[in-house]
Amino acid sequence: MQLRVTAASLALAALFASAAAATDPPNFDFNGYAQIPANLGGTLTLRSVLTNNGVVPTPIPLNFALNQYTLVVTGTLASVSGINQDYSPASIALYEDAIGGGTAADYANGATFTDGTPILTGAFTPALRRITFTPSLGSYIGTVNFSGGTQLAALGGLVNWPFGGGWSRSIGGIPAGYQENWDGKIDLGAVGVETRTWDGVKRLYR
């Protein structure tokens, strides 16, 4: 059992490594709009759509021909320090909704972003940080630990997935009721590695 599990892990790592060398680094690319709270204790809500569209690989298999994928982040404004606003707790969820028979994401109707199947859910640890460079431009960054969803088992590693991107209030087309366009992605989380001596590795294959 140990040999099969370790071999499987090596094979999986090799699959990721060879895939990374031959194709773009996989990620969950998203674009959407955020509602930003004015005061401490207020709620940030980001509603967005995954935009990989089969062009950029995703960490788990997704079918953009048949489904629309939405990504929603909510967070409580816990502290403000200088240009930094930290949201904690902050949660994240990715949903899959069939294009045929499902409801297309509509920023005027927030429920259309959460009425699909939750494929991955998790939380930011320790917080989601929004950074303000100018009144109309900034960035955001956080680390996600996934803990739920129908596709959780497909992820492999569940912790330390980098989440980041930029926000703008200058770009056109921001829907009514939202203040910012958020464009960013979730990068591939680090894959844990088990340390062994050379003798230990050789013994696995004897």
């Binding site: 674009n31 200088g82 431009l137 960054i141 200058s170």
Partner: protein
């Protein structure tokens, strides 16, 4: 009733001379490098980035099943970084060109340590979709987190995309976020200083055909 409700709209169009249609949005991601690395950004260093478009306005007629659209930005000359305190840097760049290319070979390859054998060459092959210049490009980097953002005005003056939109020239805007290698979890290809993820907005202005008042009334007479 119907004729009365249409006349004010028609009159407004005549007075305006042109009307703004919905602007076209283009979503992209990629990686950036600067001569000498960034940070630090020294005056005269040149920032470039290459990327791929994964979402684009349907009016451009792109089929991602059979082609790719790639992005190349270069020629951004650093004015030198400004230390804003607290680990925050800003850099203003002058110049800069932007090109988007549609390519059925779908062969883009970042490689490592650009410029290299495939970058930017595999990002500028194919046919030009949109080409132009950048102005007022500014980049902010928070060195404590490794994250940042940029924005720039753009002027598109060439490419088949302008023809598709029935434009001779289009103003534009782009913004995006950046992460250094550590902040991205080590996912940046080796030799690239930053990952970029951004949006381009292409302003679409619709021309209006002028008519006399008599001709306008004739349109609605039955």
């Amino acid at each position: 009733m119907k004729k009365l409700s249409l006349l004010p709209v028609a009159a407004a169009l005549l007075l305006a001379g042109s009307a703004a249609a919905q602007n076209a949005l283009i979503d992209y991601q990629g990686y950036a490098w600067e001569t000498g690395g960034i940070p630090a950004s020294a005056a005269g260093d040149v920032l470039s980035f290459v990327g791929v478009v994964d979402n684009i306005d349907a009016r451009f007629g792109i089929n991602f099943g059979t082609e790719e659209v790639t992005l190349h930005v270069t020629g951004l000359s650093s004015g030198g970084q400004v230390n804003l305190g607290g680990g925050l840097l800003s850099v203003a760049y002058s110049g800069g060109t932007i090109g988007l290319y549609r390519d059925p070979s779908r062969n883009h390859d970042y490689g490592t340590f650009p410029a290299n054998a495939t970058a930017p060459s595999t990002f500028v092959d194919g046919s030009l979709l949109l080409g132009g210049t950048l102005s007022n490009f500014v980049l902010f980097i928070d060195t404590t987190t490794g994250s940042g953002a940029y924005e720039s005005s753009a002027s598109f003056t060439s490419g088949s995309g302008l023809t598709t939109l029935n434009l001779l020239q289009a103003n534009g805007f782009t913004f995006g976020g950046v992460l250094n290698s550590a902040a991205s979890g080590g996912n940046n290809p080796a030799g690239y200083d930053l990952q970029v993820d951004g949006t381009i907005e292409v302003e679409v202005i619709v021309g209006v055909q002028e008519k006399t008042w008599g001709a306008m009334k004739n349109l609605y007479r039955r």
